[in-house]
């Protein structure tokens, strides 16, 4: 990558070399199927168990179990559909928000097709779920509230504690897509008293294609992939042992010094934010300035379009995103920004920088050096921009 500057860690991270080292034995030596009964299988089974416990310790999640899945999206699907199917006798109404990841939104839409009803609670202009609207949405037959912990595009952290308190007053279960916060900040699942929580290893320097779902003791969910009895009968299929061990190792590393990392990235992010805002007229930050992941900057630059900016940043070997990775190939502006009340034309001009462990002051300086010129150039050709005249 040489001089490349990767600023898209919310899309995915590289795998920490120590994590790769932890995974390697499970490909060639400790390769046995953990469900078999001979000695070499038991070792692997024990290692999976250790990984599970490591994660439970790190997330303070001893009040339930961790199910390993094939990624964050699957965890979200398993949590929401699994809970909905297992508890539909109690009611068929689900509450979520307008700013969820597609893995939650499209799952809810699927459930709507199957006869469930879903309320998509709006957010305020800072990207925070409107608690009053959420309260109003609660009905007699509401069984589940699923609200993300931190938004992938803006980094805005949602008032999950409060939501859980509200939900539990009327015995509604709470799921949170915590894919963007797990590994970045210490979360205490037991204190939170959350019922279901999803995470994904490749967001915290672990491998892609493996995720987890926390399920609180006493919470019943159905499986969505049927077959063998793996993962407490909640996820059939031969276990991705290397991936599972890698997930635990990655979380272990992440939690060792998350606070210093958080502070370091915050400092860099704030520097980037301050400089861009001052150097680029008619730009603004999206989302709550305080309650936000330390590594995320979502900025709107008026009169220019996101892809153009990304292409010119790319020419400078700076890799960022516009909207979420999944939709940046499409023409629709981010549903998250639209939900925040940002007009379409401005939403098209959003950039997301998400920092990671290897980013340096120099990286930030380079962006600050390069981006204003890119904006000038694009604005000069923009029919929307009158400021230059």
């Amino acid at each position: 990558m040489n001089t490349a500057i990767y600023l898209d860690h919310n899309a995915t991270t590289y795998v920490d070399p120590k994590v790769v080292d932890a995974m390697l034995p499970y490909f060639t030596e400790k390769f046995a199927n953990p469900s078999s009964i001979y000695s070499i299988s038991e070792e692997v089974q024990a290692d999976i168990q250790t990984a599970r416990e490591t994660i439970q310790n790190l997330l303070h999640a001893k009040n339930g179990k961790i199910i390993f899945t094939g990624g964050g999206s699957e965890s979200d699907n398993l949590a929401i559909k699994g809970y909905a199917y297992a508890n539909q006798s109690k009611g068929k109404h689900i509450i979520t928000s307008q700013i969820e990841h597609h893995a939650v939104i499209h799952t809810c839409e699927q459930l709507e097709k199957e006869g469930f009803t879903v309320t998509y609670v709006p957010v305020d202009d800072k990207g925070v779920v409107k608690i009053e609207e959420l309260k109003k949405a609660i009905k007699q037959d509401t069984i589940l509230i699923t609200i993300m912990y931190a938004n992938n595009e803006t980094g805005v952290i949602q008032p999950i504690e409060e939501i859980i308190k509200i939900a539990h007053q009327t015995k509604i279960a709470v799921h949170s897509d915590a894919v963007q916060i797990i590994g970045k900040k210490e979360i205490n699942i037991e204190t939170l008293d959350i019922d279901l929580l999803s995470f994904s290893a490749h967001k915290f320097y672990g491998p892609k294609g493996v995720g987890g779902l926390f399920v609180k003791k006493g919470i019943k969910i159905n499986n969505i992939i049927q077959g063998g009895g793996q993962e407490f009968k909640l996820r059939a299929g031969t276990e991705n042992t290397a991936g599972i061990v890698g997930t635990a190792k990655a979380l272990e590393i992440a939690m060792q010094n998350w606070k210093e990392e958080w502070d370091k990235e915050k400092k860099l992010r704030d520097e980037l934010e301050k400089s861009l805002l001052s150097l680029i007229p008619e730009s603004q930050v999206n989302g709550h300035l305080e309650n936000r992941l330390a590594n995320t900057l979502n900025i709107i630059i008026k009169y220019v379009e996101g892809e153009s900016m990304l292409l010119l940043l790319n020419s400078n070997k700076i890799y960022a995103s516009s909207g979420s990775a999944c939709t940046s190939g499409s023409l629709d502006p981010s549903h998250v920004l639209l939900a925040m009340g940002i007009p379409h034309e401005h939403a098209h001009g959003s950039l997301r920088f998400s920092l990671g462990k290897k980013n340096t002051k120099e990286d930030i300086a380079k962006v600050i050096e390069v981006l204003p010129g890119i904006i000038n150039r694009l604005r000069a050709m923009s029919p929307l921009y009158k400021g230059g005249k």
Partner: protein, 144 residues
């Protein structure tokens, strides 16, 4: 690099030809809208029925910029009739193709040429091109 664009597209995006307003343009056409995320504005100068110069402004993705750049190149030196026969396919071919999700950009570019010529005709003869109506290609504008 980027969206699986061809070398040609990237060239026209990174180094767009004919950027900016033509100060004393004889015709200007604007198509698209900010909601869609694509606005194209094509300027033409016309002399003796020939497009002697052309330029553009664009708000949009890489393909939007590149198709405008290529379209304005293609119409320069052409008669109005010749320019009107330049289709979105011709623009795409001249750019060595576009990714499927970006084909609408070439349609917009064709429409922008037509709009500019229409503007010129209305201004000079009082009669524009026959109405083509919306082709409905811009699936993202939410109207179709």
């Amino acid at each position: 690099m980027g969206m699986n664009y061809s070398e040609k597209v990237l060239d026209h995006f990174n180094d767009p030809r004919n950027v900016g307003e033509l100060k004393d343009a004889d015709g200007v056409g604007t198509v698209g809208n900010a909601k869609c995320g694509d606005i194209m504005q094509v300027y033409i100068k016309v002399k003796d029925n020939v497009i002697t110069d052309s330029s553009f402004k664009a708000f949009g993705c890489g393909a939007a910029v590149a198709t405008c750049s290529m379209a304005t190149e293609l119409i320069k030196g052409k008669t109005l009739e010749e320019a009107l026969t330049i289709t979105n396919k011709a623009v795409m071919e001249a750019l060595d193709g576009l990714p499927p999700v970006k084909i609408h950009c070439s349609v917009l570019a064709e429409e922008a040429i037509h709009a500019a010529i229409n503007d010129y005709l209305v201004k000079t003869t009082g009669v524009g091109l026959p109405e083509k109506g919306c082709t409905g290609c811009c699936s993202s504008c939410g109207k179709h």
